[in-house]
Every structure is written in structure tokens, then in C-alpha cells.
């Protein structure tokens, strides 16, 4: 038969087995094996990617299909790699078999989303993914999980309505057929003929898809679930939650391009050099970058900081997708890969920190670099990668996005992404300073380094961050295959855009030489000796460990004060108000309609009869 269903279903089966077998040790082995199967099969299928890799099955009158193309392979690999490392991390941090079941179930869901061949499979997988991740959060925090669930459900059913509209008009649900009908419709429209879809319907479908995928990706006005859901769950799982599940939204936007690109351009035209519908996505993405970045800098909780950071980084991907050229979409997919790699690594580091210290807030951390050197090294890679320091993957992808935006001459979006890059540094400084450096509180004096499974998981992601950074062509050539033509030229070390080039290897070599020169200058200097952390400047006064010299609270107070006006505008509060109003409305309606008065019910009957009479029944 076919490997495709095995790829999708194996994590679910493994999760179910791990849930059944409550034996400690065995359930871990089954779980990890379940997440390893998709990875191994995807690698095995790589050589045969050019051919038809499809699988269809008839279930309940629906043809459910799976398909593996270059695009879906790339996304599935993100899911498989980051999913595998996250599951490996869960060997240390999972508390019970509940988490094994739902973590693996969400991996199945997200693989299904990426490999779906038709809208039904897509929607079912989407719901499996949402449900499993909801259950993961539910174990930790009910409020956060329900917020996530309700927003996701609103998004998912918006998508269902859009799918229904498409099906009602086209009568088909498979991607190639829907895509063909839409492009044919665009062509008819361009010729001046009557389209299959009117402008209103197209706008409606676009809006519904924007809502559906925006929620999952954490796009700006719909991002409020993410900080709570990302922080209130197993942090190893969040590596997958933020690294992969949010990519489902990104993949959804790409799907929008695949299905309706021509039609949307014909209907809505261009804004500057970008398609209007894409510019909307890109502009919201730009706001996402700014809002996520600023809020990340102001968080006092390590998990929240990275949650907002995830939102901010998703914004880059949306900008890249929105600009809508082949280069920018490639850049966006590249950033999706690198975001999954470094944010997965970040959340594994957070998982390690929480696993070893049991603390989550910056005020409890400090000076851990000495006690956890391996984790610190991994954090260092992740920090350099996210901040976009050259030899790492984060630089490559951000550079590509910058190039794509600048090339299309979009100054506002350019300003937004550059601001986002700066604010990325800002919140990472906070993390670096407050967790790893400075004085160490006495209660985390005996912290040990990462446990082995987490260390291996971090090692895999760290190594990929470096490899894909030094050899950016590895990814770029794979992305070229998605479009079937060379968009980013060059070899595996070098990217050549035609108007700009970036050589990862050469840059690494030069940076190493630079570091060597710096090291020579440093080591040729005066004699060095170690001093205790309290032997410090402090305006020339003596200090002891009783003095807290590390700023651990309100690190960016001036930023907070400068942004005070804008921080008063909270979408979180808005959604809470809306939800509160809905709850109040439900209570009011219940009181009015089910009022316990028999005569009232008789009146309802009479009113219905009058309506029926008026309708002439």
C-alpha cells in the first residue's frame, strides 16, 4: 500500500497505545517511536517526491485524500522534526499519559493538515489538531484553554462556511479541481464574462479564510489566545504548539494562494506592487510583529515572553506571504522553517528551565549560565538565531524577507519588519540578562543541567539551526522545487537573488577569523583571574549577596511608560467584554424566553401560528 496514511496515523496510534499502557518507560518508548515513524517515512519518500504520491479512501460518502508534494513535504518535515524533538522533550516533562495521547494526536492533526489533498481532510485534521491542543492546555488552565478553544472554533467554523460556499458553487472539494475552477473563473471575469463567484462571495470566502487561518496563526487582532495557551501547558509540547501548530495557519494562507490567487487578484486588484488581498495579510502581519514584539518585551513571565515572541515571528511570515511574489513566499516558508527550529528550541529551553527550577518568572531566575552550560549554549544558538545574527538560520530567513519587501518597494511594510527585528533583540536581551547572567538566587544554587532527552532534543534543533544557517542553500533549493523554477539561485552555501547575495559559509569563515583575531587580542592582554559576582563596581561600594544587583522586574519600564497610551488598548479586554456580553445576553434571553409562565408559552404558539398564517401556510 502507501506510506502516506501511516505517516499521518502513526502518532495517533502510538499516542493511544501510550495512553493505554500506563507503564512508565514503555509509554515513553512508544510515544517517541510514534513520532519517529513520520520522520523516517518522510525522509524515505523524499526521492520519489516528483511522482504522484497520493492516497484516497472513501469514508462516509466523502473521498478523503492525502498527498505529498514538495510544498507539503517541507511543511510535514517541519512538523515531523519539531514534533519529534518536542515528544523527546516530553519524555522528561510529561506528567501523565493524558499528555502523551493528546500531544501525539495533535501531531497527527497537523500532519493531516499539511498533507491534505481536499478540503474535507483538511478540515477534519484541523479539528483534530485544535481539539488535541485544547486538551493539552485544559489540563493546566481551564480559562486559557477555553479562550483558545472558542477562538479556534470560531475560526474553524468560519472555514467550514467558506468550504460550504466553495462546494455549493463548484461541487468539488479537492484542491486541484477547486484551484482550476477558480482560475478559470478569474479568466472568465477578466474577459468580462459573468463569473461563477460574484465579488461579494469572493470577498466573503476570503474574509472567512482570513479569520480561520488568522486565529490559528495568531494574527494581530486574533492573537489573544496565544500568550495564555502557549504558557499554560507543558512547555515541551509548546515547542510543537508554537513551532508547528501555528504553521498550520501559515499553511492555510498558502492554501488560499494555491486555491484562489488569480481570482482574488482579478477581483481586488493591486495595491502598490502587492495584490490588495495579500497587502491586507501583510499589513496585519506587520502589526502582529510590532504588537507581539512590544508585548514580549514587557512580560514578567518567561513563557509569556516567548509566547508573544512567537506571535511576533509569525508576523514576518505573514508579511512574506502577503507581499505575494514567488521570492517573498519562499522567504516566508523559509522563515516558517527557521521559526519552527529556533522557537522549538526556545520552548525546549524554557521546558528545561521549568523542569529543573520549577520557576517561571524572571524575578526568580539569574546567573544560570554557570549551572546549565549545555542549555545555555543551546539558548545562545537560539538567541542568535531569533535575533538574526549571521551564521544562523534566523538571519537567512529574515534577510530574505527584508530583500523581498524592499524589492517590491513597500516602505510601510519594510518599516514594520525592521522595527520587528529591533524589538526582537530587545526582548531577547531581557531573557539573556535575567535568566543566564547576574547574581544567582540561593534557592536555584543546586540546579543541574538538562536531562538527557531534552538535551538530545535541543541538540537536534540547535544543530539544524546552525546547519541551515551556514548552508542556506540546502533549504533554498528545496523551496525552489516548490515553484518548479529557480527563484533563489546559488549553491548550497550561497543564496543569489540577482540583486543581492548571501554566502553563509564565507560569512561563517570570516566571522570565525574575526573571532580568532579578537581572541588573540584578548588573550594577549593582561593576566585574568576569576572574581566572585559580588566583587563588582556598584559605585565603589562594597556589596554582598544580600543585595540584589540584577534587574529582574520591570526591565523595560521606560518602554512601558512610553507606550502607556497604546498599552491601554487591549484586544484581550475587548474579547473578554464581547464574551461577557454574550454570556449576559444568554442569561437575559433565558430569563425572558423560559420565564415559567404557561401563558407566555401559549402566546409563542399563537405568534408562530400568526406567522404561519401570514405566510399563507
Amino acid at each position: 500500500m502507501n506510506e502516506l496514511p501511516i505517516i499521518v496515523v502513526s502518532p495517533l496510534i502510538a499516542g493511544f497505545l501510550a495512553w493505554l499502557l500506563r507503564v512508565r518507560g514503555i509509554r515513553e518508548i512508544i510515544g517517541v517511536a510514534g513520532s519517529l515513524v513520520p520522520l523516517a517515512l518522510l525522509i524515505k519518500l523524499y526521492p520519489s517526491l516528483g511522482g504522484r504520491l497520493e492516497f484516497t479512501i472513501n469514508v462516509a460518502g466523502f473521498k478523503l485524500g492525502l498527498m505529498l508534494s514538495h510544498l507539503t513535504w517541507v511543511f510535514s518535515m517541519i512538523a515531523a522534526v519539531v514534533g519529534f524533538t518536542a515528544i523527546l522533550g516530553m519524555v522528561s516533562t510529561a506528567r501523565d499519559n493524558w499528555e502523551w495521547l493528546f500531544a501525539l494526536m495533535s501531531l497527527t492533526g497537523v500532519l493531516g493538515v499539511f498533507m491534505a489533498y481536499d478540503l474535507v481532510t483538511f478540515f477534519i485534521s484541523w479539528e483534530v489538531m485544535t481539539f488535541a491542543s485544547f486538551m493539552m492546555v485544559l489540563r493546566y488552565n481551564r480559562h486559557a484553554s477555553l479562550k483558545y478553544f472558542i477562538l479556534s472554533i470560531v475560526g474553524a467554523y468560519a472555514m467550514l462556511i467558506a468550504i460550504g460556499l466553495i462546494y455549493a458553487k463548484t461541487g468539488t472539494l479537492t484542491f486541484p479541481e477547486v484551484s482550476a475552477i477558480f482560475s478559470q473563473d478569474a479568466m472568465t471575469k477578466m474577459m468580462g464574462g459573468p463569473g461563477l463567484f460574484t465579488k461579494t462571495e469572493t470577498m466573503l470566502i476570503y474574509g472567512l479564510f482570513l479569520l480561520a487561518f488568522g486565529v490559528k496563526a495568531g494574527m494581530f487582532p486574533l492573537h489573544v489566545w496565544a500568550p495564555d495557551a502557549y504558557s499554560e501547558t507543558n512547555q515541551s509540547y509548546t515547542a510543537m504548539f508554537s513551532g508547528v501548530l501555528s504553521k498550520a495557519g501559515v499553511y492555510g494562507f498558502i492554501l488560499l494562494y494555491i486555491l484562489m490567487y488569480g481570482k482574488l487578484i482579478v477581483e481586488f486588484g493591486h495595491f502598490r506592487s502587492a495584490p490588495t488581498f495579500g497587502y491586507i495579510i501583510a499589513f496585519l502581519g506587520g502589526l502582529t510583529i510590532i504588537v507581539g514584539g512590544i508585548l514580549a518585551a514587557l512580560q514578567e513571565d518567561i513563557r509569556k515572553l516567548f509566547a508573544y515572541s512567537s506571535i511576533s515571528q509569525i508576523g514576518y511570515i505573514l508579511v512574506g506571504l502577503g507581499v505575494g511574489t514567488a521570492l517573498s513566499i519562499e522567504a516566508a516558508i523559509y522563515h516558517a522553517i527557521s521559526h519552527a527550529l529556533f522557537k522549538g528550541l526556545f520552548f525546549l529551553i524554557v521546558a528545561t528551565l521549568i523542569y529543573r527550577t520549577g520557576k517561571t518568572e524572571f524575578k526568580d531566575f539569574g546567573g544560570l549560565a554557570e549551572k546549565m552550560p549545555y542549555t545555555f549554549a543551546m539558548a545562545f544558538i537560539a538567541i542568535l538565531s531569533l535575533a538574526g545574527i549571521p551564521p544562523l538560520v534566523g538571519f537567512t530567513s529574515k534577510w530574505l524577507i527584508f530583500e523581498a519587501v524592499i524589492h517590491e518597494n513597500l516602505p510601510i511594510l519594510g518599516g514594520m519588519v525592521f522595527f520587528g527585528s529591533a524589538i526582537g533583540f530587545v526582548y531577547l536581551i531581557r531573557f539573556t540578562y535575567a535568566v543566564w547572567f547576574g547574581q544567582r538566587p540561593s534557592d536555584i544554587e543546586n540546579t543541574k543541567d538538562a536531562p538527557l532527552p531534552l538535551a538530545i532534543a535541543m541538540g537536534i534543533l540547535g544543530a539544524l539551526n546552525v546547519i541551515f544557517g551556514v548552508a542556506p542553500g540546502l533549504v533554498a533549493q528545496e523551496l525552489n522545487k516548490i515553484f518548479g523554477k529557480t527563484i533563489i539561485a546559488g549553491n548550497i552555501w550561497e543564496l543569489d537573488l540577482g540583486f543581492g547575495r548571501y554566502n553563509g559559509l564565507l560569512l561563517t569563515i570570516w566571522m570565525t577569523i574575526g573571532l580568532l583575531i579578537a581572541a588573540i587580542i584578548y588573550f594577549m592582554g593582561a593576566r585574568v583571574r576569576r572574581v566572585p559576582v559580588t566583587d563588582t563596581y556598584q559605585s565603589g561600594n562594597p556589596v554582598t549577596m544580600e543585595y540584589n544587583l540584577t534587574i529582574r522586574r520591570n526591565f523595560f519600564l521606560p518602554l512601558k511608560e512610553a507606550m502607556a497610551f497604546w498599552l491601554r488598548i487591549s484586544f484581550d479586554k475587548l474579547y473578554h467584554d464581547i464574551w461577557q456580553s454574550i454570556e449576559d445576553f444568554a442569561e437575559t434571553a433565558r430569563n425572558y424566553i423560559y420565564n415559567g409562565n404557561v401563558q407566555a408559552y401559549a402566546w409563542y404558539l399563537a405568534i408562530i401560528l400568526i406567522i404561519l398564517a401570514a405566510m399563507g401556510v
Binding site: D577, Q580, D584, F585, E587, T588
Partner: protein
Amino acid sequence: MSMPAKVVGEDKVKKSPSYVKPWLGLKYLFKKPVTIKIPYEKIEPAPKYRGFHTLDWKKCVGCNFCGQICPARAIEMTWIEIDGKMEKRPHPKIDYGRCTFCQFCVDVCPTGALGFIESYILTTTGEEEELVLYDWVPIHPDKFKEIQEEFKDWRYPVEKIDVNEETGEVTYYLRNGEIFKFKIVGYGIRPPKPQTQPKKEEKKSE
């Protein structure tokens, strides 16, 4: 001895505002309104509702306790001549323009002469001759109750009071048609000087 302070937490008292909950105020839209349609429906005042005063002229000893305790100084002792014969003691005259209906005067009355009844409605126009109604020497309780029983509308029992400024002649036109006449010959605790009736003055001095 210091008692531990009992303070209810603010969160238990403070309510969160709502945009929708005010609509719950419409739940009385189909309920029976709790109004009393006054011209057509009547309400019964509570027993011993503090209304207008009654005075048993036979029992009143003119001690002026009521005048002293009245917080509004609405009571003035009045010397009265009825059927040409002057009462031995002054009787209280109550000004309903000042009276607060506290009924301290009733509580303090040593003989029980001053009482009150549940009737409480007295309406007039602003005309001088109608305003006279507010200033009266209360009538006998039995007479008042009789009128109240007859009309059952808790109104003031006198329809009109005629005062002859020169002779001091006062006429109560009661609601049941009866007419009650007497004459005010003076005010205060001391008996009036017999200026208008020199004969009586002479008799007394003799």
C-alpha cells in the same frame, strides 16, 4: 475591649458592569403593575395612623402640657365661649400649617382628652377663607368617628370654617351637614380680660 473589625471584601460588593444586563429590567413588561388607581381604589391607613386630632372638650383641663411639648409650637390655648357660656379651661387650638403630626401632645395629655384618628387628608385652595380650615380646635372623637364612618375617605371632617373677626364667632360646617358654633374670646393660659363683656369682668372681680 476591642472588637475585631468586620469588613466585607470589596470583591463581594463591587459588581462588574455589563452592557446587556440592563435589559433584564424589561422583565416587568408583562407583569401586573403595582400601582393603586387612587380615585377608584382606596388604601386603608394603618390602625393608629397619626392623623388629625380629636379633643374631648369635657375632659380637657387646659393644662397646656400639649402646648409645651409641641415641637412645632403649633398649639395655642384658646378660651372658648360656647352657647354664651365660657369654658372653665382653655382648649388647645391646633395649627395644621405647623403641626408635624408627631402626636407628642396626645402622649402627654394627662386626661386623655386629646386624641387622634387615622384621617389624614386635608386639601384646600390658596384662598384665605379656605386656609382657615388649617386652624381649629379639634372636635369630639365620637363626632369625628361618626363622620369618618359615614364617608370612609379619611378626610378632614370640616368642610368650611367661618370666623367672624369682630365677634370672634367661629362656625364649623361639618361634612354631614351639622353646624357647630362657638366663640373664641381669648388666647393664652390666662383667662381673657373682659373687654367685650364688661359684665363678666365685673362679676369675677367681685
